[in-house]
Amino acid sequence: MKVLGVIAAIAIFFVVLVSIDTDKSIADPVKAIVERTNVPNSVTAVYLETRLYDTVFEVIVFSITAIGVATLLGSLARAPHENQSVFHSVTVYSGGLAALSITLFLYVVLNGHVSPGGGFVGGVVLATGVVTYGLTSDFKRASSHYDRLRIKQLESASLLVIFALSTLIMLFPGMHSRLLASGTFGSTLSGGLIPILNILVGIKVYAGAWKMSGEFISRRGTL
């Protein structure tokens, strides 16, 4: 029976492979996008200005999954992680790595509209840095920052602000394009509301990714 499924899959993808015609109509919208948004990195301009409507749903998907994972994992017993086998050389490296990921987060998020990067990348990079530090050396200290910096309230506040800002941009596009045109091309402060959205998405994705992996770690124990 499985052979039938494999044959069907091969047939489907063979027909797709044969019938794909890659040079039919190659669009080149870079000029139109960059001219209107006055922002060098046209990819960030697309997903934060042209198709902002998708990104709003995208951020909601991420926060729903983060809290969904937390509630679904809530039913499992918390794994004790006192006896964390700590190798001191690894702690030093992962501590340095976490600090490095903070700087990388700030760089990528702040001028995500000038150089490659953006909210999503920054959030995930920071989350990976802090989680590796939590995994290898001391999970309690790594997760203590979550309450000290009150990230939980920050997370829901940033979701609300993202939603408010994007409704404003979508309802009054004329005003936003005038704001965009005012900044000088290529400078960090030039992107109108785009850098602010980038920062908020970065915080949101960081909080979501940290909560998800934190839930996994606290349920399954550290390495």
Binding site: V6, P29, V30, N41, S42, A45, D54, L76
Partner: protein, 118 residues
């Protein structure tokens, strides 16, 4: 030219992922094969965007260069984050099942459900 090569490889990757999903018996393996399908789709969209040119679409003033198309790239960043969210959710469900039945094997799980059905 490079765009179509990436597209052809990603379709073969999708084929490999689908076959992996059919043949594997362990839940984690099925979720892994699903991850392969999703990575191949993300790669295909970069292939689509690089049909016109492979210069990254970060404009530095002159528009004469043959830039890659930014729209599929921006669109697939959303796709990558969605596939990560799906992956986490499926792993949580697999863990919940593992905690009740202590097995990751698809047949034993479905046999347990049939036994409970009667």
């Amino acid at each position: 030219m490079t765009g179509s090569i990436v597209i052809y490889f990603s379709i073969m990757g999708m084929l490999a992922g689908t076959i992996g999903m059919i043949l594997s018996k362990n839940i984690i393996k099925k979720i892994l094969s699903l991850g392969i399908v999703e990575t191949s789709i993300n790669m295909m969209y970069t292939g689509i965007s690089s049909r016109g040119g492979i210069i990254p679409p970060i404009v530095s003033g002159d528009f004469s260069l043959s830039y890659a198309d930014p729209i599929p790239q921006a669109v697939i960043i959303t796709g990558i984050v969605i596939s990560f969210a799906l992956l986490c959710l499926s792993l949580v469900l697999a863990i919940i099942i593992y905690n009740n039945y202590h097995t990751m094997d698809v047949e034993t799980i479905e046999r347990n459900f049939e036994r409970e059905e009667e």
